[in-house]
């Protein structure tokens, strides 16, 4: 039984068929690359897994249980975290609030659950420090951070709650070379801790460096799904552009 199983998933937006019967699976502790041209449906597929979209047809199983009826809250509770392509940060909130967004620490005051800002700040600081992220203060407003720093906040948020699967949608797009190396190291660390990763990236060298399996999506369908050591850069490229 795989950790994640996507079975024959369809999703349309009006007349646009973004996903046309996608089937693939992810093993625990493995890194799976999802590649494909712009508009192939990669982000839509991932958002369908995280509950942002509900599939029109098909099923999604995680840890052996159906999750395609759950909302994003329920799916996060099961242990799936996603670093969204647009990062999904609240730009007017500070770093700590963003890291704990949806999972605020509260304390009981006369039966009222009040947000424990202090504890969230210190926990967020620990997380940022652990990741070696260059964010000066967790009280900084997210919208005022650089692209790379915002990325670190989104990554810190995904890793704070002990996920079993981390989905990264173009996590290196806004990063400098050294920071990209950092993300790749992070993926290796996650794997070594038994945490599965799905990586969406246009940088095939990165994909080949850290992923165990490469799934190619074209026009909403899986057209190739091979172990990394059984395929080649050329083969993947031709699958992406549709030459094969």
């Amino acid at each position: 039984m795989s950790l994640l199983e996507v079975r024959d998933v369809y999703k349309s937006f009006g007349s646009i068929e973004a996903l046309r019967g996608v089937t693939f699976s992810v093993e625990a502790g493995s890194a799976t690359a999802l590649v494909g041209d712009n508009g192939a449906g990669k982000s839509t597929l991932m958002k369908t897994i995280t509950g942002v979209h509900r599939p029109d047809r098909g099923s999604i199983l995680f840890d052996g249980a159906r999750i395609d009826e759950l909302d994003p809250r329920g799916i996060r509770e099961r242990g799936i975290e996603m670093i969204y392509q647009d990062l999904a940060l609240a730009k007017m909130r500070d770093v700590a609030a963003n890291i704990f967004l949806g999972r605020e620490i509260t304390r009981n005051v006369l039966g009222l659950k009040l947000i424990d800002h202090k504890r969230m700040e210190s926990e967020a600081e620990k997380m940022i420090e652990k990741l070696g992220a260059r964010v000066k203060s967790v009280k900084q407003i997210a919208g005022q951070l650089s692209g790379g720093q915002q990325q670190s906040v989104a990554i810190a948020r995904a890793l704070t709650f002990n996920p079993k699967l981390v989905i990264m949608d173009e996590p290196t797009a806004a990063l400098a070379v050294r920071e990209i190396e950092h993300v790749l190291d992070l993926i290796r660390t996650l794997k070594s801790h038994g945490i599965a990763v799905i990586l969406i990236s246009h940088r095939l060298t990165d994909v080949f460096a850290v992923c165990d399996r490469i799934v190619v999506l074209r026009q909403g369908a899986v057209i190739a799904d091979d172990p990394t050591d059984k395929t080649s850069m050329n083969a993947v490229v031709s699958h992406i552009v549709g030459a094969a």
């Binding site: 994003p72 329920g74 969204y84 730009k91 949806g102």
Partner: protein
Amino acid sequence: MTAAPRAARGGANWRVRLTSGVAFRFESLLVLAILVVAMAALSPYFLSISNFLNILLATATIGVLAIGATFVISSAGIDLSVGSVLGFSGVVGCLMMSNLDLPWPLGVVACIGAGAAAGLVNGFLITRGQIPPFIVTLGMLGVARGAGLVLTNGLPIYGLPAPIVYLGQGRPLGVPTPVIILVLTAAIAHLVLMHTRFGLYTQVIGDSETAARAMGVRVERQKVYLYTLSGALAGLAGLLFAARVNAGDPTAGLNYELTAVTAAIIGGTNLFGGRGSVVGTIIGALIMGVLQNGLNLLAVPSFYQQMAIGAVLVLAVWLDRVNRSEGRRR
């Protein structure tokens, strides 16, 4: 990592310290001070305890509405129906107490309940019907006003039970009851907006609805709650208004939505959502109260006052724009 936040805090100037935690716009306090000084200079009647209590009394109704507006606008929504819902709720409550002779606590519940029900309808139409808040609440502005007029044939309902009249006209320890209710409401609202998930999610929805949804915030449900809250507060304001004039007037609260939205915006609640401040809103409501009171004392006809309020709204938004493009604010 420990030194950095401390440095940031130490570097914060007094202005930031004054407004941190309550997040109101410092300039609004300045405007209020200037306005008070100006009015004191222009009118010999302005500077007196009794006049200040008058201002506070007038501010109470608008203030309660503006607190609702603070929540709704923080979520990048708008509720244009609050003035009409105020009138409608007052009428419903008064019908219960005067015509049906029901006990006054039921009248209180009816007032607030009628407002909440109107807000609930707004919330459902906005989320389930996917109709923009602007349109839904503009429609409710018409419907609620019309309903109030239909229920009363357009005539005020006079004569409320003594406890209700006390609610509007009483002065425990010299302070008008509506002012006490405003202060209590504001204190609770401040706590909710700044220190609970409800308040945080309200602002995050206005900041980025997609981020809120992706992180598991139940956006639709939250919006229904928000418009219901706004309606319930309009109901409370309707009760205060009716209690003050000892009548259920179907034309009560006409154009109040304009003043309420203006108070919230002047106080620093972001017009496009993401950030709100109850403390700022109360300062904004006081600005509107002082302005109206001053114009009354100066015998400026009420038609001109309406123009002044509209101008203040546009001016506040424009100043915010200028301010922001200068990069002085985040």
